[in-house]
Amino acid sequence: MKVAKFGPAFLILAAAAGRLCAGTYAITGATVYTLGPAGKIEDGTVVIRDGKIAAVGRSVAIPADAIRVDAAGKIVTPGLFDPKSRFGIEEVSGVRETRDDAVKGREFTAALDVAPAINPRSVLIPVNRIAGVATAVVAPSVTEGGTIVAGRGAVMTLGSTDHYLLKDPAAMFVALGEAGADLAGGSRAAAVLYLREALEDARDYLAHRPAYDEARRRRYRLDRLDLAAFEPVLKREIPMVVAVERASDIEAVLAIARDFDLSVVVDGGAEAWMVAGDLAKAHVPVILNPLLDLPSSFEALGASLENAARLAKAGVVIAFETGDSHNARNLTQLAGNAAAYGLPYEEALKAITANPAKIYGMAGRTGTLEPGRSGDVVIWSGDPLEVTSAPTQVFIEGREIPMTSRQTLLRDRYLALLRHRGALPPEYTKPEPK
């Protein structure tokens, strides 16, 4: 796996989606939420060709070779975009061997990149993509015995097992607040200092690399690779995603962003609504779980079901996270509840599609239904934000995704047992060969 090692060379691995059996499809008759400039289109048509969206509109020429998909009475949206997941780096949360999301010890911090650890054949992926999740940021986590810098995450598509990396690195992940304080020795002050020192040293290192290599520069706390990894952050090429909940911690993040001229994203942000104006002014997005309304800690005393609505109203770009990759499929439920608590409907949809794409610099590729964008398209049985709705078909990078997962196989095996006891035990029930 290719990982950026030095300099500004973070890779965008162009998706070769079109190469693989991506047909031409015309989805017709649906209510289409483009979430782009074309807005909502009634009785719309979406044409997918060569892995990309070829056309979207009310009166669109349907190519002769297109497979027509009648979606009358259904809803069509872009594929969902999970802004913070562990896809491919965690199978069973409680089984250590199946996890690659966090690193103990202080050998490496910023230089860690999740990409080489990602398993695109994870069982979690089909479970969630048949529920509409098409793209995800795979993010490292901080852990006890590690540092406040978790490392770098990547954007992956859930539609492919070969060319699945879309952007790597996509962001640097850091924790401040209570978790950061704990990792930094017991105080928020130490955590902020650690981060500031790392950024200062990285800036110094990048400006004097030859001198450092010749041992003519002062020593840094961080290793060469860690310092170099900050380069795209310092150049604003990728954002630094900082996990913080408390309003005052968010202000501390904004100060760091100002001082180092960084592009930052708030992750968590239980009290973000309290500093919504400052976030909007600084153009800092927030990734949050809009369901969290309890004072679960002393840094989340201001938690509110209206967090999302208040932030959006102030002009903050928001995206939703479930905090649980096994059930990333519940992004729609999060958005539905946010809508129930004041977030305008299309803003709620954007918080699980267009906005996360934008936050990670992927807006030109996915997150909206516009010509030229990736063929990440979901046909829903009904309102996608209703918990009773489900995709009838998912397309990722223009390919019709098989609507099966290990869970549908388990279901079907035991449905057979429920309906009629066969001559053989259920273990003999094999799925239809695909």
């Binding site: 089984v95 004072p295 679960s296 005393l301 201001g302 079901l305 059930n327 047992l417």
Partner: protein, 484 residues
């Protein structure tokens, strides 16, 4: 992820000690304080054969219904909780009870009238698996009192002695329509201690919330948690077979304790045997006074536990977190044991690896008693959505279960599991007026509980800040407002 593990994972690794209570159960027969099992429950409790005399409840309920007025909800879509629905119906509440339900009911002239047009009514939601109060918000060590991880069998402890009534989670759960809930010890032990059933009303004391006369439950746990907690300390049990040996020895000890008391009671000679609060509790289970609520994920483990129950002549009221219940609805049906499930949790540990969203409808379709549960201070606020999710997945899989029946998964069936279905859980005349008025169909993500009644009293009103209680803890903080 961190949050969802309160009960199932993080809690058992945290190692914070619970305040150990002194376990006793009410007198073994005749005082009427605790019926052996809900009258209308599917299963019969074993005959009371215990010789152990129990003193009265040391922590008696002081719950009294809040003031109520005769109220009629008119022209609502009513789900009765017992499988029926009325598209345009009325519900009359009088003296804290359901007085009448039907297409049109006569109400006294002075009754408060609530316009239910375009709205929905269900019984109050019942959650059989909550750790509110014992793992409260804020989640700080000093308040984490749910797992007495000092012995694999702590049947003597009582969740009620750990419940902190100022947990704001009670209020947010009420805003989600939850009127009754069972608070359980955690799952780090084979036998974790007694649960307590609460009416979800604001109170300074846990006694003020205790559901009058509700049977106690004994929390037990299968599988990974107990063997991990004790195995990691090189203590017993460290394997599944160790777990099962642990339960069986506990029941054998309880039988022995019971026999010693019986022998003494016969002769009444010499000093009575020393009271043992742990064995007394277990003997209460064998006598059918205490209901077993057992954390058990896997199909094979549930089957084993049904065998253990058969060996020692007790009944398992419900398997909780029964992620694989869809694999054995036949056995659950035959034993009259309910399954309490999440809609979609899976994969957080091996025993949850086979979770599927069709679990609840498949258990229901298999003829067993199925229900939703939360195990989460967040999930408990939206159990209607969790039911809707599972119901819809069942429909897509071809299980044609009406919504009105799926409503039972959050009302009547949990009431059965708790043995209180003769008093609450459905909108039947004479039952407690535990009622929720929803802004829309509760199967919709946009539906909100507008008014929540407990024993006929309006305990939550989305339109009236005076009916939105807040805990002491959040006073003066930055309350998020807006139903938090």
């Amino acid at each position: 992820m961190r949050r969802r593990w309160r009960g199932v994972w993080a809690a058992v690794t945290a190692g914070f000690l619970a305040g150990a209570g002194c376990a006793t159960a009410p007198a073994r027969s005749g005082n009427g304080a605790v019926p052996a099992a809900g009258g209308a429950s599917a299963e019969a409790a074993p005959a009371d054969s215990s010789a152990v005399e129990f003193p009265p409840d040391p922590f008696p309920s002081t719950y009294a219904p809040l003031p109520s007025k005769t109220t009629v909800i008119r022209h609502a879509h009513v789900y009765t909780g017992a499988g029926d629905e009325i598209a345009d119906g009325d519900v009359l509440m009088r003296d804290g009870k359901i007085a009448a339900v039907g297409p049109h009911v006569d109400a006294p002239a002075d009754a408060a009238v609530v316009d239910g047009k375009g709205k929905f009514v269900t019984p109050g939601i019942i959650d059989v698996h909550s750790h509110l109060g014992v793992y409260p918000s804020p989640q700080v060590d000093a308040l984490a009192n749910g797992n007495e991880l000092t012995n694999p069998d702590t049947a003597q402890v009582r969740a009620e002695n750990s419940v902190w009534p100022q947990d704001e989670g009670f209020n947010t759960a009420r805003a989600g329509g939850v009127t009754t809930l069972e608070i359980l010890p955690g799952s780090g032990n084979l036998i974790g201690g007694l649960s307590v059933v609460l009416k979800n009303v604001p109170s300074r004391t846990v006694q003020g919330m205790k559901f009058p006369g509700a049977p106690y439950g004994l929390k037990m746990a299968c599988g990974e948690n107990p063997k991990r907690v004790y195995g990691s300390r090189k203590q017993f049990p460290s394997t599944e077979m160790g777990n099962v040996a642990g339960y069986r020895q506990a029941w054998a000890d309880a039988q022995d304790y019971d026999a010693r008391w019986k022998a003494w009671e016969k002769e009444k000679k010499g000093a009575p045997p020393k009271r043992d609060l742990r064995l007394e509790t277990l003997a209460g289970v064998l006598a059918g006074r205490i209901r077993v609520q057992m954390h058990c994920y896997r199909c094979d483990e549930m089957a084993t536990m049904l065998e253990v129950a058969r060996e020692f002549h007790y009944h398992i009221a419900a398997f909780h977190h029964a992620v694989e219940a869809y694999k054995l609805p036949d056995l659950l049906k035959a034993s009259g044991t309910c399954a309490a499930m999440w809609a979609d949790w899976w994969g957080f540990k091996i025993e949850a690896w086979d979770g599927i969203v069709e679990n609840i409808p498949m258990v229901d379709a298999g003829g067993a008693c199925a229900m939703i549960h939360s195990d989460s201070e967040d999930g408990i606020q939206r159990l209607n959505q969790e039911v809707a999710k599972a119901w819809a997945a069942g429909r897509r899989a071809g299980l044609d279960i009406p919504e009105a029946r799926a409503v039972e998964w959050m009302t009547l069936n949990p009431a059965k599991a708790l043995g209180i279905d003769d008093r609450t859980g459905s909108l039947a005349a004479g039952k407690m007026a535990d009622v929720v008025l929803w802004s829309a169909d509760p199967f919709s993500v946009y539906a909100k509980a507008e008014k929540v009644f407990v024993d006929g009293a309006l305990v939550y009103d989305r339109d009236d800040p005076a009916r939105q209680p807040e805990s002491d803890f959040v006073l003066g903080g930055f309350s998020g407002g807006g139903g938090r």
